[in-house]
C-alpha cells in the first residue's frame, strides 16, 4: 500500500471533465448505436380524461412514414406494467381506449426523420369523448387505491397525555427536477431472436428493467439495456424512461425497424416523471417543556393517472424515518394513494423526503411558537442523542451514526444565530418583514429494496418472496499490459462516479487514479448488476463503492499472492499482469488464471420488513441542519434570502469537491421547490406549466449564496464510512425557507412555492387589495 496520503478523501478534480468541456461528451442523442434507424414522434392526448378513437390512415400515407404503432398494437404485443399495488387501472405503454392525462402517449409515428414524423403525427386523427377529470387528490381520497395504516408505540394514549396537540394540514405540490437533457431511447428489435436491444439514458433502479421486460413479455436476458457514457442529469426522473423503452421497443417490434426517439421539452414537462403531490395532516403531541411525544400523519398521495412502478415508493421510502431526527416513541401514519388525471409520478430528488419533512419541520416551527421556545432549542430538546447511536426508530430504521447536537451547535455558530436574530429584530423595528427558519433532518441513503412491500400487509407478504437489501456489483480487471479497467452499473448522470471509483481503486491497488479507467456505460448483458443497480437514494458512495472496493480487494489479494509466489513484493503491476496473462501455468497454487475480479456488496442491515411492519428502509443516515434568514418585501411579496447555512454530516467524504457540488445542486432544487416551481393543471386538467416559459426554474440570480459546514460521523455500515449526500437539501430547504417566511409574516398557512404573488396574498394590506 502506498505510504502517501490516500486518494479517497481528496478534492480531486474530475476525469470526466475534459471530454465534457470540449464538447466531446457522448449523450445518447449524440450517438448512432444502430445503423439505419428511423425516428419516432409520439402522438399525445390533448385531454385529461376521455374515450378515444384513433384513425391513422392519413398519417400512414404521409411522406417518409414507415408506420404507426397504435394502442391496439400495444395491447396485442404487451402486458400492462406491473406495479407495487393493484389500482384497478392498468397502464400500458400507450393509452388503449381511454386517455387519462394530458400528454399521455396515444400512438407512435415512425418515419425517416423527426421532422417527417412530426408532420405525420399531426395527421393522426383522435376523436375524443370527454369524461370528467379528477384533479383534486383530497376529494379523490374517498376512492383511494391504497389505504394502509401503521402505528408504533401508542399514539392515541400519548396524544391524550400531551400538553399541546397541534393539528395542521400541509401540501407539497407536484415538482419536477427538469434535467437539461430529456429522455432518449434507441430500440432495436430482433425478430429472429425475439430479443430487444435498447439504449436509453436510464438511471435505475434496475428493478424497472424487470418491469419493462414483464410488460414486453420478455425473459430478462431478452431485454438487453445499454446506457450511454454520459447522461445530462436525471435527479430521479430518468428512472421512468423505462416506460418509453417499452413503447419504442414495441414500435421497433411492430414496424421491424430500429427506432430512435429523443424526447423534447414539451413532452418532458407533460409526461416524464413529476414528483408526487402530497397532502398531509400532521398531528403532533408535545409536553409543556417541548418534548415531542407523538406524531401522526394522514397522507394523501397524488401519483397521477396511474400507479406506475416503483410507486407507491415515494410514500414508503422514508418509512423508517417518519420520526425524523427526533426521539419520538409513538408514531402513526395512514397512507392513501389516489389517482388524478395528471401525469404519473416517479423518482425526483429527495423522493419522499421533501413531502415528509415539510410537514414535520413546519410542525416543529409552529410548536416552538406555541410553546414560547426558540425553534433551535425545541429541536435540541428532541434530537436523538449521540450516545443513542446506532438508534432504532419506532418504524424500524437503524440510524447508523451521528452527533446531531454537535451539528446543531456547528450550524448555529456558522450562522451566527444570535447575530441573525439581532439583524431580524432590527429589520422589524424598521417596519420590515424578516424572519428566521431552521430545519433539522435525517437524510437517508441506500434504500432497502424491501420497503415497497410495506404496501402489503404482513399476511400478504407471507405469501410472496421477501424483498430486501441493496446490492451492487462491479468488476475490476487488469489487462496484459497492466491497464486497469473498472465497470460500474451505477449509470451516473454527473455525480463523478468514475473519478471516485478511480480514487478507491488507486488506494486499494497502490496506483494513481489516472491509471484507472472506469467505464460507467451500462450493459445488462455484460456488466455485473443487480435489481438495485443504478443511481438513486444516493447509494453510490455506500454500496457501489463497496462493490468496487471488494472487487479491487479480491484482485489485490491475487496480486499479492503472485508477488509472494515470485518472491518480490515490489513487482510492478505491469509485471504482475504480464506474468498472470502470459504465464498462467506459473500462477500460485489455488489461484484462478487471469487477473480480473467481480464482486457484489450490500450493506448488512437491510432486512425485509418484520411482521410488525418495521423496516430498515435505508442503510445510512446523514444529518443536516439548515438555518436561513429571509426578508419579505411587503409591496411585492418577494422573498429575499439574507443568509443560508447548511451543515451536513454525511460520514466520510470520498471527494469533498464533489460532495459540496452535490450539496449545492440539492440546495438549488430545494430552493426551487421552496420559492419557484410547481406543476399547475387547470380545472379541465390542461397542463398550464407546459413549457419552460411557464414552468419557472431558478437561474443564477435566483439562487442565494450557500454557506456549507461539514461534520463527519463515519457510517459503520458502508465500506468506507460514507453516507449519501445527493438529496439532503431538497428535503430540508422547502421547510427551512417556509419556516423563515412564516416567521417573517406571522402566518402558519404558508404554502409552496412561496412566489411573490402567493406570499403577498398572505400579507395584510389593510385595504384588502
Amino acid at each position: 500500500m502506498s505510504a502517501t496520503e490516500p486518494w479517497v478523501g481528496r478534492p480531486l478534480p474530475r476525469f470526466e471533465d475534459d471530454v465534457l468541456l470540449r464538447g466531446e461528451g457522448r449523450f445518447l442523442d449524440d450517438l448512432s448505436p444502430v445503423a439505419h434507424t428511423c425516428h419516432a414522434a409520439v402522438v399525445r392526448s390533448q385531454l385529461a380524461h376521455a374515450g378515444i378513437v384513433v384513425d391513422v390512415r392519413a398519417a400512414l400515407a404521409a411522406p417518409g412514414v414507415v408506420g404507426v404503432l397504435t394502442g391496439a398494437d400495444v395491447m396485442a404485443l404487451s402486458r400492462p406494467f406491473p406495479a407495487g399495488i393493484d389500482s384497478g387501472t392498468p397502464q400500458y405503454a400507450t393509452a388503449i381506449e381511454t386517455v387519462r392525462y394530458v400528454g399521455e402517449p396515444i400512438a407512435v409515428v415512425v418515419a425517416r426523420d423527426r421532422y417527417l414524423a412530426e408532420d405525420a403525427a399531426e395527421l393522426v386523427d383522435v376523436d375524443y369523448d370527454p369524461l370528467d377529470a379528477v384533479l383534486d387528490p383530497v376529494a379523490a381520497a374517498a376512492t383511494a387505491v391504497h389505504d394502509r395504516t401503521f402505528a408504533y408505540g401508542d399514539v392515541t394514549a400519548a396524544m391524550a397525555q400531551a400538553d399541546l396537540v397541534l393539528r395542521q394540514t400541509f401540501h407539497v405540490p407536484r415538482f419536477t427536477c427538469t434535467p437539461v437533457e430529456c429522455y432518449a431511447v434507441v430500440a432495436d428489435w430482433d425478430a429472429t431472436e425475439g430479443r430487444l436491444t435498447t439504449w436509453a439514458n436510464f438511471q435505475g433502479p434496475f428493478t424497472l428493467h424487470g418491469v419493462a421486460a414483464a410488460a414486453l413479455g420478455l425473459r430478462g436476458d431478452r431485454l438487453r439495456l445499454l446506457t450511454p457514457p454520459d447522461s445530462g442529469g436525471s435527479f430521479g426522473t430518468k428512472s421512468s424512461v423505462f416506460a418509453y423503452i417499452v413503447l419504442m421497443g414495441l414500435a421497433s417490434r411492430h414496424l421491424r425497424v430500429p427506432v430512435t426517439w429523443t424526447e423534447d421539452r414539451l413532452e418532458h414537462l407533460a409526461s416524464s416523471a413529476a414528483a408526487t403531490g402530497r397532502t398531509t395532516e400532521v398531528e403532533a403531541g408535545f409536553t409543556a417543556d417541548g418534548r415531542l411525544i407523538a406524531v401522526r400523519y394522514d397522507a394523501i398521495e397524488d401519483v397521477g393517472a396511474y400507479v406506475r412502478a416503483p410507486e407507491p415508493a415515494t410514500l414508503y421510502r422514508m418509512h423508517g424515518s417518519l420520526t425524523g431526527a427526533y426521539t419520538v416513541p409513538n408514531v402513526g401514519v395512514r397512507n392513501r394513494v389516489v389517482l388524478t388525471n395528471t401525469q404519473p409520478s416517479g423518482l425526483n430528488r429527495g423522493f419522499g423526503g421533501p413531502q415528509l419533512y415539510f410537514g414535520l419541520e413546519r410542525t416543529m416551527a409552529i410548536a416552538a411558537k406555541r410553546l414560547g421556545l426558540d425553534p433551535a432549542e425545541l429541536a435540541r430538546r428532541n434530537l436523538i442523542p449521540a450516545d443513542a447511536m446506532p438508534y432504532r426508530t419506532p418504524s424500524g430504521a437503524l440510524y447508523d451514526s451521528g452527533d446531531y447536537a454537535a451539528c446543531l451547535d456547528h450550524a448555529l455558530e456558522l450562522a451566527d444565530y444570535a447575530g441573525l436574530r439581532t439583524r431580524v429584530e432590527k429589520a422589524r423595528a424598521d417596519g420590515r418583514l424578516a424572519g428566521i427558519g431552521i430545519a433539522c433532518i435525517v437524510e437517508p441513503s441506500i434504500s432497502n429494496m424491501g420497503y415497497i412491500t410495506l404496501a402489503q400487509t404482513a399476511d400478504e407478504r407471507a405469501l410472496t418472496l421477501p424483498k430486501s437489501g441493496n446490492a451492487e456489483g462491479a468488476s475490476v480487471s487488469i489487462n496484459p499490459l497492466g491497464g486497469i479497467t473498472v465497470r460500474l452499473a451505477t449509470t451516473p448522470q454527473g455525480q463523478g462516479h468514475r473519478t471516485v471509483c478511480a480514487q478507491v481503486v488507486a488506494d486499494t491497488l497502490g496506483c494513481t487514479p489516472g491509471e484507472v479507467t472506469v467505464m460507467s456505460e451500462m450493459d445488462t448483458a455484460s456488466v455485473p448488476w443487480t435489481v438495485a443497480s443504478g443511481s438513486y437514494s444516493s447509494r453510490f458512495s455506500g454500496v457501489a463503492v463497496g462493490a468496487v472496493q471488494a472487487a479491487a480487494l479480491k484482485l489485490r489479494a491475487k496480486i499479492d499472492a503472485i508477488r509472494a509466489h515470485a518472491g518480490d513484493e515490489n513487482l510492478s503491476l505491469r509485471r504482475v499482469a504480464g506474468m498472470a496473462h502470459w504465464n498462467p501455468e506459473g500462477r500460485p497454487a489455488g489461484e484462478e488464471p487471469g487477473l480480473s475480479a467481480v464482486a457484489f456488496w450490500a450493506p448488512p442491515t437491510l432486512d425485509p420488513p418484520d411482521d410488525e411492519d418495521r423496516i430498515a428502509s435505508s442503510a445510512a443516515h446523514g444529518f443536516i441542519v439548515d438555518i436561513c434568514a429571509v426578508e419579505v418585501e411587503r409591496a411585492t411579496g418577494q422573498v429575499r434570502v439574507l443568509d443560508y447555512v447548511t451543515v451536513h454530516d454525511a460520514g466520510r467524504l470520498l471527494n469533498p469537491l464533489l460532495a459540496d457540488g452535490q450539496v449545492m445542486g440539492g440546495f438549488a432544487h430545494g430552493l426551487a421547490a421552496a420559492l419557484y416551481e410547481r406543476h399547475v393543471y387547470d380545472e379541465s386538467g390542461n397542463l398550464m406549466t407546459a413549457s419552460l416559459v411557464d414552468y419557472l426554474t431558478p437561474t443564477a440570480p435566483d439562487i442565494p449564496a450557500l454557506r456549507i459546514g461539514h461534520l463527519s460521523s463515519p457510517s459503520p455500515v458502508t465500506a468506507l464510512g460514507a453516507k449519501g449526500i445527493g438529496e439532503g437539501n431538497t428535503m430540508s430547504a422547502p421547510a427551512c425557507v417556509a419556516n423563515a417566511v412564516a416567521d417573517a409574516i406571522g402566518r402558519d398557512d404558508v404554502e409552496l412555492p412561496l412566489t411573490p404573488p402567493r406570499v403577498w396574498n398572505l400579507l395584510d394590506h389593510g385595504d384588502g387589495g
Binding site: L12, P13, R14, F15, E16, D17, D18, L20, L21, R22, G23, E24, G25, R26, F27, D29, D30, Y115, C177, T178, P179, V180, E181, C182, D230, S231, G232, G233, F235, T262, D264, R265, Q493, G494, Q495, G496, T499, A502, T512, G514, L657, L658, D660, G661, M664, G665, F667, A668, H669, S691, L692, V693, T697, T699, A700, P701, D702, I703, A705, L706
Partner: protein, 162 residues
C-alpha cells in the same frame, strides 16, 4: 432545398438544407458536431448557444439556412486539439460542471461576455440568467468565470494531475 455555404469552426462547408432545418440539428446531425446540445427548442435553457459571426446566439432559434455566408463557432472550437482554454480549465478546477449538458452553451456565452471587457460579478450572474443548470447551483460556474476573467494567465496553468 437550398444550398448554403457556411464556415463552421474554421472549415467551409457546402450543404443542401431544407429551410426548416434548425441550426442545432444541422450542426449535430449533419456535421456531427454534437457538442452543442438541445434542451428545450424554445430559446429558454441556453444549452444550444453557439457563436454566429462573433456573438453568442441560441442555436435552436436559428434555421441553418439563415447562416449562409456566416461564420459559426461551436464549443469544439474553444480548445480545438490543444489544451483546455483558460475558461475551461477554470471550470474544471471549480467543479463548475457535473453532467456537462448545459456546459457548452455556458462556455460560449461566457467567452462572449469576457471578450467584451471585464464583466462585473453582477454582469456574469445576469448573463447566466439565460442558462439553465440543474446540477451545480451556479455558484461554481460564476467562480470559474470570475477566475478566468481575473487571471487568464494563471488559469492557463496545467490542469491538476491525478
Amino acid at each position: 432545398m437550398t444550398e448554403i455555404t457556411v464556415t463552421v469552426n474554421g472549415q467551409t462547408v457546402v450543404e443542401q438544407v431544407e429551410p426548416r432545418l434548425l441550426l442545432t440539428d444541422f450542426l449535430r446531425h449533419r456535421l456531427g458536431l454534437t457538442g452543442t446540445h438541445v434542451g428545450c427548442e424554445h430559446g429558454v435553457c441556453g444549452a444550444c448557444t453557439v457563436r454566429l459571426d462573433g456573438v453568442a446566439v441560441r442555436g435552436c432559434c436559428l434555421l441553418a439556412v439563415q447562416t449562409d455566408g456566416s461564420v459559426v463557432e461551436t464549443v469544439e472550437s474553444l480548445a480545438g486539439d490543444g489544451p483546455l482554454s483558460p475558461l475551461q480549465a477554470a471550470f474544471k478546477r471549480h467543479h463548475a460542471l457535473q453532467c456537462g449538458f448545459c456546459t457548452p452553451g455556458i462556455l460560449i456565452a461566457a467567452e462572449d461576455l469576457l471578450s467584451r471587457g471585464h464583466p462585473s460579478h453582477e454582469a456574469i450572474v445576469d448573463m447566466l440568467s439565460g442558462h439553465l443548470c440543474r446540477c451545480t447551483g451556479y455558484t461554481p460556474i460564476v467562480a470559474a468565470i470570475e477566475e478566468a476573467r481575473d487571471a487568464p494567465a494563471l488559469a492557463r496553468a496545467e490542469e491538476p494531475a491525478g
